[in-house]
């Protein structure tokens, strides 16, 4: 096991990882930007290293500085969290080159899944259903022909895309040429790669993802699914496990498919296979996230398995001590993301408590929320015996959460929780669009 681990991240995920390390007896090194000097992750870690200015490009995205910090402090491993460098094959390679264990999959797996078009082809070969689509397209003319064959509406998707960038929905042939160029240009600007492909637009659809965990010995287990259809501007807002749309039979099929894909890719560590689920219970591979997910807590609540600890154990070469047969999904868990609407200083914080109420956050009274990074303030997660009870619990907990000084989306989240569509469990990724 590693005696010291560096956390290449900030905010609630850095705190989450430090807490796991404290339980495991692992010393922690936090890295921070000039804007994060007084953050909770810095205060909680055993050591901390300033790695540059407030802008992420000069700090949390600077692989060289982070690896230097790990080497200077004598850390044996680096946990990238989510976002920032968590899906950078170059960063994983740099860590390994300097003798640091990277808590995540191999560079090869990251590269494969990072290329959305290549990942699609790989999944197809491994027997995972993918939505009808194309390989990389040369130009708009080729796209027009392919779109006719697939049938409108279609999505123009960037090979390097992510976070909603480099994606365009095309409903009619007239829109195609414009969408092709904007998606390509957006992807070139954001990721330095303008290659795009087409995919059938599955709608209405639910976003359902399967959590997997694999060790070096080749054991792969699936830890159930998460329903993440409540999204606004391609950002997830509420996630739950199990999905109200997934029957036991479908779950068995999803589990088998995801495990098969992970095995074929020789995947090691925690990962998430995202699927689109249509109204007829057909599912299509969307992408695979090669890191810890923001919403991992709901899986932890229904399985009782600590994903972060297992990520670290797997990276240290510990084999999984349970099999798929040991995984029992009990009860229902819902998470809602508390996002900041603006930067500010928390003047008062009250966190709800009680049984099976969890608030993963880096907030404390007096902390500053800087404008430089993502808006996530925390995740309020609950678990109960049934989905209905979990919904009640989350609503009660959310009403008790007080964050003064930083405007947040608590009221918006309450509106979703009390929406009849959410209460019935009958919603899809168009939840907000229908509202408008």
């Amino acid at each position: 096991m590693f005696s010291k681990l560096l956390i290449a991240n900030r905010g609630e995920v850095a705190v989450r990882i430090i807490r796991a390390c404290k339980e495991m007896g692992i010393a922690t090194v936090a890295v921070y930007s000039a804007a994060d000097r007084d953050c909770l992750h810095v205060a909680l870690a055993d050591q901390c290293v300033c790695i540059g200015e407030a802008e992420a490009a000069g700090s949390y995205l600077d692989a060289g500085r982070i690896v230097s910090a790990a080497l200077v402090t004598g850390a044996g491993a680096v946990h990238p969290g989510y976002g920032f460098l968590s899906e950078s094959a170059d960063f994983a390679a740099l860590c390994r080159k300097h003798g640091l264990a990277f808590v995540g999959p191999s560079e090869e797996a990251i590269t494969l899944m990072g290329d959305k078009s290549e990942a699609r082809r790989f999944m197809q070969r491994s027997g995972v259903p993918v939505a009808p689509g194309t390989d990389i397209l040369r130009d708009a003319d080729e796209a027009a022909g392919a779109a006719e064959a697939i049938g409108y509406p279609v999505l123009v998707k960037a090979r390097a895309g992510g976070g909603g960038r480099g994606i365009r929905l095309v409903r009619t042939p007239e829109e195609l040429e414009g969408a092709f160029f904007t998606a390509s240009q957006e992807a070139r600007a954001a990721f330095g790669d303008g290659a795009v492909y087409l995919e059938k637009f599955v709608s209405p659809a639910r976003h359902v993802e399967v959590q997997i965990l694999a060790d070096e010995a080749g054991h792969v287990v699936c830890l159930g699914e998460r329903e993440c259809s409540i999204q606004k501007n391609h950002q997830k807002l509420i996630e739950e496990s199990p999905s109200p749309a997934v029957s036991a039979a479908l779950r068995a099929k999803l589990t088998e498919t995801a495990a098969q894909a992970a095995k074929a890719a020789g995947y090691v560590g925690a990962g998430t296979v995202e699927f689109l689920l249509d109204a007829k219970q057909n599912f299509y591979f969307m992408e695979m996230n090669v890191r810890l997910q923001v919403e991992h807590a709901v899986t932890e609540f229904v399985t009782g398995i600590d994903l972060v600890k297992w990520q670290i154990r797997v990276a240290a070469g510990v084999p999984l001590d349970f099999t798929q047969a040991d995984v029992r999904l009990t009860g229902s868990s819902i998470e809602c993301r508390i996002n900041a609407a603006a930067a500010g200083t928390v003047s008062m914080l009250h966190v709800p408590g009680g049984p099976w109420v969890r608030f993963d956050s880096a907030l404390f009274t007096g902390c500053r929320v800087p404008p430089y990074y993502d808006a996530l303030l925390g995740k309020l997660v609950v678990r109960a015996g049934t989905r209905e009870e979990a919904g009640r619990k989350l609503q009660a907990a959310l009403c008790e959460l007080v964050i003064d000084g930083v405007p947040s989306n608590i009221d918006e989240q309450l509106a979703v929780l009390t929406d009849p569509r959410f209460c019935r469990g009958e919603y899809d990724t168009d939840f907000f669009r229908e509202d408008e």
Partner: protein, 291 residues
């Protein structure tokens, strides 16, 4: 107190299993420093901002130039007698090499830095001894520089502010080191006879010949919290009197209780206290303002 220092540390043992670590985790002395009083690892940034003081109050030794910057107004310090440096005139084994190494590592030529400066606008002559240069021991050059500073201050009618830290007389220069006690004392006396003010600040540790001469001759003697100030060290005293000295033996707090020091001033307040004492002194100069 920074948030980090308020958290306690769990004593969970390292989980077993998996591969052993690639290499042992090094103690990262670059990043934190362990406080000998409270035992906590203090980030260097916190120490720096607190003037090399742990949040628990422990004062770490301060480098000379840093103390000068800490105490005086920006860019007001002009060094004096900086060219003087010790020679190994007794041929003491290893002394010449030690001096060479120390000059390289500290960037200083001797264990005391003298000059003229302003503290919150008040002009003064200043000497600061160096805990990193042979523990501020007093050899011929230290004595000479301090004596010259007092002579210079007497001539220019300047008050002297002196920060003492010393292991005592420098053994490598033998009897000539002891001579410095008489020489500096005489210079302090002449400076005082001219109606000039001398403020001594005793820091940890101030011992031996330095305590027995100019360090204790201040018109006002301030001390840093917890500083050890004495002549013979606790161990020597214990061996001589065959009794274990009390825990607070030779501590600044005991000095204060017995009238050997006038006040104990934590670093954060030193600049203000020294400046106000200089201000009071300025008003009382006999040759001015009709007194």
């Amino acid at each position: 107190m920074p948030l980090g220092l308020r958290f306690r540390k769990p004593k969970n043992e390292l989980e077993q299993g998996g591969r052993p670590p690639a290499r042992p985790a090094e103690r990262a002395s670059e990043m934190t420093r362990k406080c000998p009083d409270c035992g906590k690892e203090i980030p260097l940034g916190v120490l720096w901002e607190g003037g090399d003081t742990c949040p628990c109050g422990h004062c770490f030794p301060m480098r000379v130039r840093r103390r000068v910057a800490f105490l005086t107004d920006p860019d007001s310090f002009t060094e004096l007698f900086g060219a003087l440096e010790s020679r190994d005139f007794l041929g003491f084994p290893g002394y010449a090499k030690k001096l060479r190494n120390l000059r390289e590592s500290t960037g200083e030529r001797e264990a005391v830095l003298c000059g003229e400066a302003r503290i919150e606008g008040h002009a003064c002559a200043l000497f600061v001894m160096d805990p990193y240069f042979l523990m501020g021991s007093m050899g011929t050059v230290v004595g000479e520089k301090i004596a010259r500073l007092f002579e210079y201050a007497a001539q220019k009618r300047l008050p002297v502010v002196g920060c003492a830290v010393s292991g005592g007389a420098r053994m490598q220069e033998g009897i000539l080191s002891l001579m410095q006690m008489a020489k500096t004392s005489a210079a302090v006396k002449r400076h005082g006879d001219g109606g000039n003010f001398y403020l001594a600040l005793l820091t940890d540790p101030t011992m031996g010949g330095v305590t027995a001469s100019f360090a204790m001759q201040g018109d006002i003697i301030l001390a840093e919290p917890g500083a050890t100030v004495g002549f013979a060290g606790a161990r020597v005293v214990e061996q001589t009197v065959r009794k274990k000295p009390p825990a607070d033996f030779q501590k600044a707090e005991v000095l204060l209780a017995h009238g050997f020091a006038d006040a104990i001033v934590p670093r954060a307040g030193q600049r203000r206290v020294v400046a106000s004492l200089l201000a009071i002194h300025e008003r009382r100069r006999p040759d001015e303002k009709g007194l």
